[in-house]
C-alpha cells in the first residue's frame, strides 16, 4: 500500500514574497493617494511659512532704533563675551607670570522695594557685597587687547574653585576653594610658543598643573597680566508666556594679587585696559579699574570672558528659531503617517495587503521605510529653505543670530528632517496598534508638541520641565540645539531660548527609542490579531 503524498506546495514566486516587492507596493500606495502627497507638501510648506511668519513678527529695536551691539567672535568662530579689566605687560614667546591671589570680593546690585528691573539695564543705585558663582579674577595671557582674541587664563572664581580657561569655550577645573588672606591661592601661567600651561598652588612652592592650552597662531609678543570680571546677576522671578521678568544688573569683582613676578617680559610698564563695557556691549557691565599699592594690585572688573550663550539676557537669537515651523510640519507628517496605516483598515485594503504579503512584519517595515523616507525628504527640503530664508528675515528685522559652524547647520537641517521621519514612524506604529487615526495622531502630538509647549511656556517649574523634556518623545527636539550648554556660563537658557536638557544626539535617541518601542508593539499586535 503506497501512500501518495501531494507534492509540497511551492512557495509563492520569489517576487511576490520578497521585501523589495512589498516595499514597492507600499511606495505605490503612498504615491497614488493624492491626499497624502498633498499632506506631505503641506508639511514642507507650513514648515517654511510658519518659520517666516515668526521671523516677521520678531522686530527688534532699541528705543525705537535698530540695535547696534558689538558681537565679538572668538577664535573658534563662536560669539563671545570679552569684557573685563586687564592690567598687562608685553610678554615674549617664552616666559611665565606668577602671582598670589589673596582675596576675591565683589558687589551685587541691591534689589530695592520696587526694584523689578529687567536684566539688561544699566548700573543699579545700590550695591551690596557679594560674588556671583562665576565672578573671576587671576592671571591671563592674551594675544592682544582686542575683544575676541585668543587667551589662556588661570583664575579663581566665586563658587567654582580655581580653573584654567582658554579660548572662551574651554574650562578645566583646578583645586577648589575661594582665596582669602588666610588661605591665598598661587597661580602661574607659563608660555612656550603656542603652548600655555596653567598651574595652581597653595603655598607658592608645591605646584600642580591645572591644564595645558594650545593657542595656534599666537603672536610673538602677547599681553600678560592680571584681570577681574564678573557676569551680570539676574534672578528670574516669573516666567510665562509674556516673557521673563526678573531682577538683575551688572556686578563687580575685585581680585587682590601680590608677589607678582614675570619672566620673559619685553620692556614696558603695567598698563590698565578696559575691554568692552561700553554702550554697545550686548550684556550689561560696569567699567573697571586697578590700584597698585606696594606690591599689591587690586583689579576690579565687570563682564565676562566666556562664550556668548543664549538666555544670558543678550539680544541674540539661535538659528533653530527659524525652524519653529517644523512643529506645524510635524503635525501634517504625523497625520499622513497615521492615515497610511489606518486607511487600510478603514477600506478593508489591509486584508488584500496581508494576502499579498503574508509576512506582516515585512509589511510594517516596508510602510515604516516608505513613510520615513518621504517625511525625511519633505523635512530636508523644508529645513534647507527655512533656515536661510528665516535667518534673512530675522536679520532684516534687526535681530542678531548666534553664528554656528557649517557642521552644526548641516546637523540642524538633517536632524530636523530625521525628527520628522522618526515622528512619522511613531505615528505609523501607533496607528497600526490602535487602528484609529484620530487617537494615534493625538497621542503623537501630545507626546511631542505638548511637552515642548509646556517647556517653552514654563507651565511647570524648571526641574520638572527638564525631566519631562528628557523622558518623552519631545526630547528629540534637542537635535535642533545650536549653541552648546556651557557649564561656565550661568544663564537662564531654557527650551524657549534653544537649550535642551539632553545633548543633541541623546535627545534624538530618546525619540528613536520611543518609535522603536512603538514599532515592536505594533508588530506584536499585527501578528496576534486578525486584520
Amino acid at each position: 500500500m503506497t501512500a501518495t503524498q501531494a507534492p509540497p506546495r511551492t512557495a509563492a514566486p520569489a517576487e511576490h514574497g520578497s521585501f523589495a516587492a512589498t516595499l514597492r507596493a507600499e511606495w505605490t500606495k503612498f504615491r497614488t493617494v493624492r491626499g497624502w502627497v498633498i499632506g506631505l507638501t503641506v508639511a514642507a510648506l507650513v514648515t517654511v511659512l510658519v518659520g517666516l511668519l515668526s521671523g516677521a513678527g520678531s522686530m527688534s529695536s532699541c528705543n525705537g532704533h535698530p540695535c547696534h551691539f558689538l558681537h565679538p567672535v572668538g577664535p573658534g568662530g563662536e560669539a563671545v563675551t570679552d569684557t573685563f579689566y586687564f592690567v598687562h605687560r608685553p610678554l615674549a614667546s617664552h616666559g611665565s607670570i606668577t602671582a598670589r591671589v589673596t582675596s576675591l570680593t565683589g558687589e551685587l546690585p541691591t534689589a530695592t522695594g520696587s526694584g523689578r528691573v529687567r536684566a539688561g539695564q544699566g548700573p543699579q543705585s545700590g550695591m551690596h557685597p557679594g560674588l556671583e558663582p562665576w565672578s573671576k579674577g587671576g592671571l591671563i595671557i592674551k594675544a592682544n587687547t582686542t575683544q575676541g582674541s585668543a587667551y589662556a587664563a588661570v583664575l579663581v572664581t566665586g563658587d567654582h574653585g580655581a580653573r584654567m580657561q582658554y579660548d572662551y569655550t574651554q574650562d578645566i577645573a583646578g583645586p577648589p576653594g575661594r582665596p582669602a588672606p588666610a588661605s591665598p591661592r598661587w597661580l602661574r601661567l607659563t608660555r612656550a610658543g603656542d603652548t600655555i600651561t596653567g598651574y595652581a598652588s597653595a603655598d607658592g612652592t608645591h605646584w600642580t598643573q591645572v591644564g595645558i592650552a594650545t593657542l595656534p597662531g599666537l603672536p610673538a609678543t602677547v599681553q600678560a597680566g592680571m584681570f577681574a570680571t564678573s557676569p551680570p546677576y539676574s534672578v528670574t522671578t516669573a516666567q510665562g508666556l509674556l516673557g521673563m521678568s526678573g531682577t538683575g544688573g551688572p556686578t563687580l569683582a575685585s581680585a587682590a594679587l601680590d608677589h607678582v613676578s614675570l619672566h620673559g617680559t619685553v620692556p614696558g610698564a603695567w598698563t590698565g585696559t578696559q575691554l568692552g563695557a561700553g554702550r554697545s556691549d550686548a550684556s550689561p557691565a560696569m567699567p573697571g579699574r586697578y590700584h597698585q599699592a606696594g606690591g599689591t594690585f587690586t583689579v576690579t572688573g565687570s563682564g565676562d570672558i566666556a562664550p556668548d550663550a543664549p538666555g544670558g539676557g543678550g539680544p541674540g537669537q539661535t538659528l533653530d528659531h527659524t525652524l519653529v515651523g517644523a512643529l506645524a510640519g510635524l503635525i501634517a507628517v504625523v497625520v499622513v503617517a497615521a492615515m497610511f496605516i489606518t486607511a487600510e483598515y478603514r477600506h478593508g485594503l489591509i486584508r488584500t495587503t496581508c494576502a499579498a504579503s503574508p509576512r506582516r512584519g515585512q509589511v510594517l517595515a516596508a510602510k515604516a521605510i516608505v513613510i520615513a523616507a518621504v517625511s525625511f525628504a519633505a523635512g530636508l527640503a523644508a529645513a534647507a529653505v527655512a533656515i536661510p530664508l528665516g535667518s534673512h528675515v530675522l536679520r532684516a528685522n534687526g535681530n542678531y543670530l548666534y553664528p554656528v559652524s557649517l557642521l552644526t547647520e548641516v546637523r540642524l537641517v538633517a536632524g530636523t528632517a530625521a525628527m520628522l521621519a522618526v515622528a512619522a514612524v511613531l505615528a505609523l506604529a501607533l496607528g497600526a496598534m490602535l487602528r484609529r487615526s484620530a487617537i494615534a495622531v493625538t497621542l503623537v502630538i501630545a507626546a511631542i508638541i505638548l511637552p515642548y509647549l509646556v517647556a517653552v511656556t514654563n507651565v511647570l517649574p524648571p526641574g520638572a520641565g527638564n525631566w519631562l523634556m528628557r523622558l518623552v518623545p519631545a526630547a528629540g527636539f534637542a537635535i535642533q540645539q545650536t549653541i552648546p550648554n556651557y557649564p561656565q556660563v550661568s544663564n537662564a537658557c531654557a527650551v524657549a531660548q534653544g537649550c535642551y536638557p539632553l545633548a543633541p544626539w541623546a535627545g534624538f535617541a530618546v525619540l528613536c527609542a520611543w518609535a522603536a518601542a512603538a514599532l515592536c508593539g505594533a508588530l506584536l499586535l499585527l501578528r496576534r490579531r486578525d486584520a
Binding site: S58, A238, L241, T442, I449, L450, A496
Partner: protein, 258 residues
C-alpha cells in the same frame, strides 16, 4: 429636534470609544493637574505663581481627549458611511449639526465638570503642603472664593468650547486624522509661535488671538492685570473660534455631498 437629539445621543452612546474617551478626559486632566501641583513649589511670599492655574494644568492635555470625542462624533460617520443613512433619515443638515453639538456639549460638560472638580480637589489637597499657604498670601482653593469658582466653571466651559471647535472642524474636513491635526495644531502651535516671536507687541497680539492662550485666561486668579485679555474676554475669543468653526462646518456640510 427631539428625535434628532435622541438619534445623536443613541449613536454617541453606542459608539465603542465614547465612554473610554470621556473617562480619559477626566483621568488625564486630574492626573496631569496632580502632577503639576506636586511639582510646584512656593518657597516664599510673592513667588509669582497662580495656584488656580497650576491646579488646572491638566486641561492642557485633557482638551486633546475632548477634541477626539468631538471629532469622532462627526468623522466616525464619514469613515463608516453611516453619514448617508443619517442624512437620509434627517435631511436638515444644520439641524443635524446642532443636535450633534448639543449632545457632545452635554457629555463634555459632564466629563469636564468631573475633571475640573477632581483637579481642584488635588490642588486643594497638595498645594498647601508646597508653600501655597495663607502665610504666603494664598487663600485655600475652594469654590467659595469668587475667582476660583470662575476658574473652575470657566475650565468646564473651556472644554465644552474646545469640543464645539473640534466638532465644527471635523464637519468641515470630514476625516478624523486631518481634523484632529488641524484642531491640535491651532491649539498648541500658536502659543509656541508666540513664545518664539521676540517682539513683545506681536507676542501679546498672538496670545490674545490664539484660542488656547486666550481661553485659558479664565483659569487665572492672580496677576489679572498683566493678562493679555481679561478672563471672560479670553473665553469669548475661544467662543468666537468655536462659532467660526461651527459656521464653516455647517456651511460646508450644507454645500457638499456627503
Amino acid at each position: 429636534m427631539s428625535a434628532a437629539l435622541h438619534a445623536e445621543w443613541t449613536k454617541l452612546r453606542t459608539y465603542p470609544g465614547t465612554a473610554w474617551l470621556l473617562l480619559a478626559v477626566v483621568a488625564v486632566t486630574v492626573a496631569v493637574s496632580a502632577a503639576a501641583a506636586a511639582s510646584a513649589r512656593c518657597p516664599a511670599a510673592g513667588c509669582g505663581q497662580d495656584p488656580s492655574k497650576i491646579s488646572f494644568t491638566g486641561v492642557d492635555l485633557g482638551q486633546a481627549a475632548v477634541a477626539i470625542v468631538a471629532v469622532l462624533a462627526v468623522s466616525a460617520e464619514y469613515s463608516t458611511g453611516m453619514i448617508r443613512t443619517t442624512l437620509a433619515a434627517m435631511p436638515g443638515r444644520i439641524k443635524l449639526l446642532a443636535a450633534k453639538a448639543a449632545v457632545v456639549s452635554v457629555l463634555i460638560l459632564a466629563a469636564g465638570a468631573l475633571a475640573a472638580a477632581g483637579s481642584l480637589l488635588t490642588g486643594w489637597l497638595i498645594l498647601p503642603g508646597h508653600g501655597f499657604t495663607r502665610a504666603h498670601g494664598f487663600a485655600p482653593l475652594t469654590l467659595a472664593d469668587g475667582p476660583v469658582l470662575r476658574a473652575t466653571a470657566g475650565s468646564v466651559l473651556y472644554l465644552a468650547l474646545i469640543g464645539l471647535l473640534s466638532l465644527g472642524a471635523a464637519a468641515a474636513v470630514r476625516d478624523s486624522a486631518v481634523a484632529i491635526g488641524l484642531v491640535l495644531g491651532v491649539l498648541y502651535l500658536l502659543p509656541i509661535v508666540a513664545a518664539v516671536v521676540s517682539n513683545a507687541t506681536v507676542r501679546r497680539h498672538l496670545l490674545q488671538a490664539a484660542p488656547m492662550t486666550a481661553g485659558l485666561d479664565i483659569q487665572a486668579t492672580t496677576g489679572l492685570r498683566s493678562l493679555p485679555l481679561s478672563p471672560w474676554q479670553g473665553l469669548a475669543v475661544l467662543a468666537a473660534w468655536a462659532a467660526g468653526a461651527l459656521l464653516a462646518g455647517g456651511l460646508l456640510l450644507r454645500l457638499r455631498d456627503a
